[in-house]
Structure formats: structure tokens, C-alpha cells
Symmetry: C2
Subunit: 226 residues, 2 copies
């Protein structure tokens, strides 16, 4: 990667940039490579060798658990600007669990391969600290997802999900299929469809082929318990 | 706390000890105070101010989630020698979720109060890194608990639980009530009692007032899927 472009990018994105030696900065930049994944591609699978640190440029990643029976539970999704740390789990010894990561859409990433990240994390405590701090941030996101799955009814989880989607995308329409929503929420499609029909009968949303349009945002917030 | 005793202890327990300046070592030692909690005492409650870093000397801590309706799910337990980081969650910004921490038994702790930990973590990246690395380790433990709750049947979870308890305590008897086991596993007492009776009918355990004695360890391992 071109050094100037890299510098400008990394200095903004990585808080440890100023703590790297010039030599480390150079290795960091040289190791960053753009990679494209088609929609639906698997990027990381359980305990296999890991890709490295990923920065999302465009598209979307989904990080999930997969049971032996094939049931999957979404932990969180990553969007442009986000950095994926669990794809570098083989570098951080304290991460001992397996997750799966797919490209949910056509996705462009910048990848720092795990060998370089490993070497930098070993020699520079700021790099290591960045990795663990980011992992802890994801821990928080996972706990939020888990609390919803363990403690909340589907009505409230769906209301929270729609609210958060609109915050991300702007506008008043969530352009996802019921199947996608079910997967992101850790529920079943039938359950989501039934609940959406109930929301529609209550005048909270309008369902169409294009997606789910929120027609009563105040009522949705009440359902979300906010 | 006496400096020599502290030094000997902290140098063993905290990997960042050698990275502290003499002044920081002194503040660290002076801030460590022994505290006793009676069995059942609440040590940390949700988003309230946090106690700080805790090192378990004797006894046991339980870290759990609590729903608005009062349902609780055990995330993990801490034993002598373990360090509790979520009790210092107010120091680490990346931790944004609330947990509850109780003394499960009469427990003696060494406490570094959160103000001192905060100051040291701010000025010394090794201290900060230690905190985040420990949080990531707990993340791994929580994910293990979550995978059991989300994906496994009660039979397998109970077999795993009994196996792990015996690894911790040695011997062949788990001295816990059905109620306690249910709480640690995130299940209900009735469900655990029924499953234990089934295990007994299969010749895997023998139930008595003193606890649950494993009579066929090999079969228990098969049930645990190990």
C-alpha cells in the first residue's frame, strides 16, 4: 500500500499509530492489502487459521456462533469504518472461543495479515493493548445481544432492532427480508413475520415488498422500552 | 499494605509489575487493602460506582447478569488466585454492560480501589493492557457459558458442569445443592433435579444429602461429549 495514503488512513484509524517506531509504521503500511469478498463468502471459520485484522471499507460483515447442529446466533455486524478483531483471534491468546465471520454483502476490506499483526503486537504493547481494548468493546456488544436473547420478548427485541437499523441507515424504511432480520436477531423467520404483522395491525409499521416502513416512531420507542 | 509482602505478591500476580516506575509500585502497594465479605453479600451492582480490581484470597465470587424481571444468569465464578476485572468496569471505557457480583461464600479479597486503578491505567499502558487482556479472557469464559446455554441440552451441560467441578475440587463428590447447580448453569432447580435422577438411574452418579458422587466418570465424559 502507498505509504502516504496508508499514513493518512492509519493515523486516523489506529490510536497506536504515533507509538510505533518509523520501522514499525513502514511494516504496518506495507502489510495492509485491499481484499474483496463476494456476498455470502466465509471469511473466518471457527478455530482454523485466522486472516488477521480487517478494516471494513464498504459492505458488511456478520460475526456469529455456530452450533454443532448448525444453529447460528448473530453476535454483531460490522460496517464501513469498523475494525474486526475476532478475525485475528489466533494472535490474541486470551481469545479462546470460535466464531464465524461472513461477508453479508459484497465487501471491500483492508487486511493486515495475522503474521504481521502478531509480530507487532508482540513487540509493541500499544498494538497489543489496542487489540485487547477492541476485543473488550466487542465483548460489550455481545453482552447486549445476549441480554436481548436471554431476557427480552421478541416484541421488544424486534422494536429495538428496527430502531437501531433506522439509526444506522437513516430514513424510515428498513430494507431487509424477514429472514435476514430473524438471523440478525437470533430468532426464527416465522416468529419475526408474525410479530411484524402484529406491529402492522397496531399501526407501528407498514409492510411492503421494499421492506418495513416505520409509521409510528414514538410507539416503536415505547415497544423498545426506551 | 506492607511493601515487601505486597511486592512479593504483586510481582507474582501482575505481569505489568516490572513495567511500573518505583513510584507507581509504591502507589499500587499502598492502595491494596484486604476486605472481607460475608457469604451472600453484593459486591458490585450493575451500573453503580465500581469497587475496583479484586484479587480473591479465599472464598468465591459469582458474576452474573440480572434481567429487569429478576432472572439471573451466571457468567462465571472466580476462585482463590483469580482477579476480578468487571468490578473495575467503570475504569475501562470499552466495558459498557452491567453485571452483578456477589460473594458466593465468605470471601477475603485484596482490593485496589478504582480511583488508583484508573490513575495507573491512564498513565501506564501496561496496566491498561493488563485490564483489557483480562477482560478479553473473561469474554472467552462468557462465550463458553453462552454456547452451552444457547446450544446444548441440559443433559450435556450438567455433565460438563459436574466434570469441571470435580476438576476444580478433586475427589469424586460435588458438594453443591441442586439449587446452586441450577444457578451456576443458568437452568431451573426442577430441571436439574430431574436430570440428576436420570443420571442416577443410568448409574453415572449417586445422590445423597452430602452432594452428588460420580460413580462412572467414563460415562460422564461421554455425556459431556468430551
Amino acid at each position: 500500500m502507498l505509504t502516504e495514503e496508508c499514513e493518512a488512513l492509519l493515523a486516523r484509524q489506529f490510536p497506536f499509530w504515533d507509538e510505533l517506531t518509523p520501522g514499525e509504521q513502514k511494516r504496518f503500511c506495507e502489510s495492509m492489502a485491499p481484499v474483496h469478498y463476494d456476498r455470502g463468502t466465509s471469511i473466518h471459520s471457527g478455530s482454523e487459521e485466522c486472516v488477521g485484522l480487517l478494516r471494513v471499507k464498504t459492505g458488511q460483515l456478520r460475526v456469529y456462533l455456530l452450533s454443532e447442529e448448525g444453529r447460528d446466533v448473530t453476535l454483531y455486524r460490522l460496517f464501513p469504518g469498523d475494525i474486526c478483531i475476532l478475525s485475528a483471534s489466533c494472535v490474541l491468546e486470551a481469545i479462546t472461543f470460535d466464531v464465524f465471520i461472513d461477508a453479508e454483502e459484497a465487501t471491500d476490506l483492508l487486511v493486515m495479515n495475522s503474521a504481521v499483526f502478531h509480530a507487532l503486537a508482540d513487540e509493541n504493547v500499544y498494538v497489543r493493548c489496542f487489540g485487547y481494548e477492541l476485543a473488550t468493546k466487542r465483548f460489550s456488544e455481545v453482552m447486549w445481544a445476549m441480554q436481548q436473547i436471554l431476557f427480552m420478548g421478541v416484541d421488544r427485541r424486534l422494536a429495538i432492532f428496527l430502531t437501531e437499523e433506522l439509526q444506522k441507515s437513516g430514513g424510515d424504511t428498513v430494507r431487509l427480508t424477514h429472514e435476514q432480520i430473524a438471523r440478525y436477531m437470533g430468532s426464527a423467520r416465522e416468529v419475526v413475520s408474525r410479530m411484524l404483522k402484529y406491529f402492522e395491525s397496531e399501526g407501528v409499521v407498514r409492510l411492503s415488498r421494499g421492506g418495513i416502513t416505520v409509521t409510528d416512531a414514538a410507539k416503536l420507542r415505547v415497544l423498545a422500552g426506551k
